[in-house]
Amino acid sequence: MNRMQARIIQLGGLAFSVLYAVFIIWLYATEPRSFKEVTSSAEVAAGTYQINLEKFNSGLDLFRRDQFRAARVEWQLADPIQQDARTQFYIAYSFYREGWGRVYFDQELFKQGLDAVNRSIALSSSGSPTFDDSNLQMHTPAELKAELEQGTEQSWKDINPLKVLRTRK
């Protein structure tokens, strides 16, 4: 009887410690920055992660009033672990609109926008998603990425004086 119990303990201990090791590897792979992020990352892993819709909509209102930095603060609170493709798309769009200028593009903001749009693409399970928003002229991360990449590239077109006539998307 004792032998049997010892065997059960052995098996249970082995299973428990393997699960614990998997949890540790997962922690080091996802690198959560706080206990809150640990729970959010766990929700992502379980497929139950949802962004804070209230914060997201509040960010959208600010974005439509051209208050891009404030919008990004709201969206970062809505999606603290950067796991929602739509929120990351909007964050990238806010970088694009803030960095866009008739004479020149703000390279630093465009680079941050590229990072965000790349995250959005990576998170899109369905390839290239479409985000319907009448306020936007680009509806897919691929379009936005192309625009941001063109903005960061240096070429002879940059000295064309007619470029002041271009419009922001």
């Binding site: 004792n2 065997r7 249970g12 201990g13 410690s17 393997v18 614990y20 090791a21 080091y28 959560p32």
Partner: protein, 243 residues
């Protein structure tokens, strides 16, 4: 009815792997001084090498009796559990070094060199389990004090006591050479807890890993140093007991 087999199984297959895996978890955990965010630092290559040397030392010192852990006479599940514990112990050793090794800069390499030097020298010394435990406790304790008390004080943004003293002494030293990141004081507490768990786990290991008693093991160790002609009178009782 004796509870010895159950208790032994609980310690060997539940408690010890849990302790060593907790060391693996906490060994690379730091807390940022400014944002108070967690930073997870995976074990650098040098800590894996130090881990290998330490595990070899644990085998040589008799803390791990490999021949009793993994054997064709044991059931496959027991062998698997022992191999798993061995892996946990290796990574716990690497992470214990990770917790006391400065993250970068000149001090990182200085600490790594001294650890390597100490462990390499110890490979050729005669150890028993208790002496080895004492030696390891002192090794980790010294490294902890150097990193989390002296270096942390030297590089704290508020300007610790040591910073004020050394500022006047080593004005010529270039800051970049001694580049040490700043962490919150919680990092020191985590490292202390990690090392306490690791050394505690090793102490527990000495009490559990015994098919033969510690006295028998010491006799066996001593017998290896004796000439062959003197072996039979000592080896005979041991053999009969193991049967």
């Amino acid at each position: 009815m004796s509870h010895h087999p159950n208790n032994r199984a609980l310690v060997s297959f539940v408690l010890l792997p849990f302790l060593f895996l907790t060391v693996v978890l906490l060994g690379g955990l730091r807390v940022d001084a400014v944002s108070r965010h967690f930073i997870f630092i995976a074990p650098p290559l040098v800590t894996l090498i130090l881990g290998v040397l330490l595990v070899l030392l644990l085998v040589r010192g008799g803390l791990i009796r490999f021949q009793h852990w993994i054997s064709s006479d044991l059931p496959p599940l027991t062998n698997a559990a022992h191999i798993w514990m061995f892996i946990s112990l290796f990574f716990a050793s690497a992470q214990a070094f990770n917790s006391v090794l400065p993250e970068r800069g000149l001090f990182h390499w200085m600490f790594a060199f001294f650890f390597l030097w100490t462990l390499w020298n110890n490979q050729f010394s005669l150890f028993d389990a208790r002496r080895l435990l004492r030696s390891l406790a002192i090794l980790f304790g010294t490294a902890f004090i150097l990193k989390h008390l002296l270096l942390a004080s030297l590089y704290s943004p508020e300007g610790g006591w040591l910073k004020r003293v050394t500022a006047s002494l080593i004005q010529g030293v270039i800051e970049g050479t001694l580049d040490v990141p700043n962490f919150a004081p919680a990092t020191g507490y985590i490292a202390f807890f990690t090392l306490a768990l690791y050394v505690g786990g090793l102490i527990l290991l000495t009490f559990t890993d015994n098919d033969i008693s510690d006295i028998d093991h010491r006799i066996a160790t001593k017998s290896r140093q004796l000439p062959r002609t003197e072996l039979p009178p000592i080896a005979a009782p041991l053999e009969s007991r193991s049967k």
